[in-house]
């Protein structure tokens, strides 16, 4: 390197030095320590004791860990596509020329501002099995079907029935789709009008335009929203914790149906003080997140279309 190059590197590093410190203190160091602690018995009160791969052996037979990974994957598979499709649909609706667009945009966006704890409290109330608003809405429908078909349908016990808890949680995340919607809307507005006009000249109808113009133009935004959605849903903690009243009841909810990766790591570390065990879990969880994100990026490489920048 020439002296000028060297001075530039020095200047650059000087400017990013706050981030370098942050990277070392809050990313690299904790990751390495997590990896190290995963091979130890550690309660924070006493120094860690090296125990080899025992934590991992225990993990592989731990049914709760399997449940937590399953629940997290199930919730992500449910909520991420649901949120993305709804966000995309609302963005498409908002993209039509219509009066009052900004009013509707605001209406759809506002829920994403609601803090997690408030979200949990509000939905714990809405999804209440007996007097919750959702079930009071559903009740006439259930009764109507029962009357017509002679069935015994009841409204779901959203917070008590293990088969429904995660669906209820997914509904809360659809409610907060504002960010994804705004990003889709930006993507839709970037698609040049000429492309649509050209497609129309070729005789393309609504669906054909959607398939060959809108979706390809939108693909980078879809990928971005999917990745952000995945990362967020893998970390889900506050809303189920509040909805399940985690301070009084088991935070994992009925039948452990709301035991997510973050919940179980938290419980092992700060309720059982098995921090080494929690770290082993955290590490496996982290590797899964990274593997999945990279797979998603690789898979979409061929399908995502980046418009040439003008």
């Amino acid at each position: 390197m020439t002296p000028i190059e060297r001075s530039r590197v020095a200047k650059g590093l000087l400017f990013i030095s706050p981030w370098i410190l942050g990277f070392l203190a809050f990313a690299l160091y904790p990751l390495l320590v997590t990896a190290y602690l995963s091979f130890t018995d550690y309660s924070v009160l006493a120094p860690p004791v090296f125990i080899g791969t025992e934590n991992y052996r225990e993990l592989f037979t731990d049914l709760d860990f399997r449940k937590a990974i399953f629940n997290t994957a199930f919730f992500a598979a449910l909520s991420v596509p649901l949120t993305a499709v709804m966000a995309c649909l609302l963005a498409v609706l908002l993209n039509f020329q219509a009066r009052g667009r900004s009013f509707f945009r605001t209406a759809f966006f506002l829920p994403s501002l609601v803090p997690m704890v408030c979200l949990g409290v509000i939905w714990r109330w809405l999804l209440n099995g007996e007097v919750g608003l959702i079930n009071q809405f559903l009740l006439p429908f259930a009764e109507g079907i029962n009357l017509l078909l002679g069935t015994q349908l009841d409204t779901p016990a959203w917070l008590e029935d293990p088969g429904f808890t995660k669906i209820g949680l997914a509904i809360t995340s659809v409610w907060g789709l504002g960010h994804a919607m705004v990003i889709f809307l930006a993507g839709l507005q970037e698609a040049p009008v000429e492309l649509y006009e050209a497609a129309e000249l070729d005789g393309a109808g609504f669906w054909a335009k959607l398939k060959s113009v809108t979706l390809p133009m939108l693909s980078p935004y879809i990928l971005f929203n999917l990745i952000m959605g995945l990362i967020a849903s893998f970390q889900v903690f506050a809303v189920p914790f509040v909805m399940m009243d985690g301070a009084n009841e088991p935070p994992g909810g009925p039948g452990g149906s709301m035991l997510f990766a973050a919940t179980y790591i938290y419980l092992s570390a700060f309720a059982d003080w098995k921090m080494g065990y929690a770290c082993a879990m955290a590490l496996i969880f982290f590797l899964l997140v990274v593997a999945l994100t990279i797979t998603l990026m690789k898979l979409s490489e061929r399908r995502v279309h980046y418009a040439a920048k003008s």
Binding site: V117, W125, I231, A261
Partner: protein, 279 residues
């Protein structure tokens, strides 16, 4: 610009759909407000009533009184959020400048590393971070909540870098020829030109800090140092299953400042989200 013109029938369908979804999305807010204003016995009636028989405004003051030291929690939250904003704007702007306006070997590789840190979920690093803060005696202090913001944040750096890259080079080249140092260019040229982007970072950080639950939940156990999120969670676990009118009133009070803030900064806010998506 919207790209589709509609027939009359299309317009009718569009408005029906928009109104339907708008109601769905507004419904939880409306129900929260309705419950917040009802007497307790009216919150659990079947079928539900939307309009309270008597508007019980004192629910709000009573919710504040029974939540614990509400004003103290509010002050704590405001303090942590403000410190986080200062730290985040300053450190992220500096780092973004280093990642955009100075060309140096290896820069883009390091920036990629910076982006990759966004993939690290908090639960993965919380045990060592807890142990570190314990060593530093930061457990139960606000430092545990805002100091990380003084050390840059990948998302905010990304956002500001995008903005700094869009500022023409010619503007800073002249200053460089005049012998201006980088730090002066940063403070006197780039920052004043980037007010809107800095506002976006400030807003996002403020909201994030106001909303955050997991980190305060782990690092703060002393009630005196509770944030609003912690206070509400503690309140709901004490009163859960019964005092829904108070819980909804408290939720309303905590959400309201965010909604007001959003209405005052709507344009900047939406532009900020748009700037982060795609590409």
């Amino acid at each position: 610009m919207p790209t589709h013109k509609l027939s009359l029938l299309g317009k009718v369908v569009l408005y029906i759909l928009l109104a339907f979804f708008a109601f769905q999305f507004a419904m939880p807010f409306l129900w929260m407000l309705s419950t917040a204003l009802k007497p307790l016995e009216e919150t659990m009636t079947v079928p539900p009533t939307w309009i309270p028989s008597a508007f019980q405004w004192r629910n709000f003051s009573e919710a504040i009184a029974s939540m614990g030291d509400f004003w103290r929690y509010a002050g704590n939250t405001l303090y942590v959020a403000s410190m986080s904003v200062v730290g985040s704007v300053l450190s992220s702007a500096l780092a973004a400048y280093g990642f955009s306006r100075i060309e140096w070997r290896g820069r883009d590789k390091v920036f990629f590393l910076c982006l990759a840190t966004m993939m690290i979920p908090f639960p993965v690093i919380m045990v060592p971070t807890y142990a570190l803060f314990r060593e530093l005696d930061w457990i139960n202090t606000f430092k545990a909540l805002y100091i990380p913001f003084f050390l840059g944040n990948a998302f905010n750096i990304f956002l500001l870098r995008q903005f700094f890259l869009s500022i023409p080079r010619s503007i800073t080249d002249a200053a460089r020829i005049d012998g201006c140092g980088e730090l002066r260019i940063f403070f006197q040229i780039i920052l004043p030109l980037s007010k809107s982007a800095l506002l976006v970072v400030a807003l996002f950080t403020f909201m994030h800090s106001w909303n955050d639950f997991f980190a305060p939940f782990i690092f703060i156990n002393d009630q005196d140092n509770y944030t609003l999120a912690l206070g509400l969670q503690a309140f709901q676990s004490r009163a859960g299953g019964s005092e829904w009118h108070y819980l909804m009133a408290a939720s309303t009070i905590i959400i309201l400042p965010l909604i007001v803030l959003f209405f005052f900064t709507q344009k900047t806010f939406i532009q900020g989200i748009t700037a982060t998506g795609g590409k």
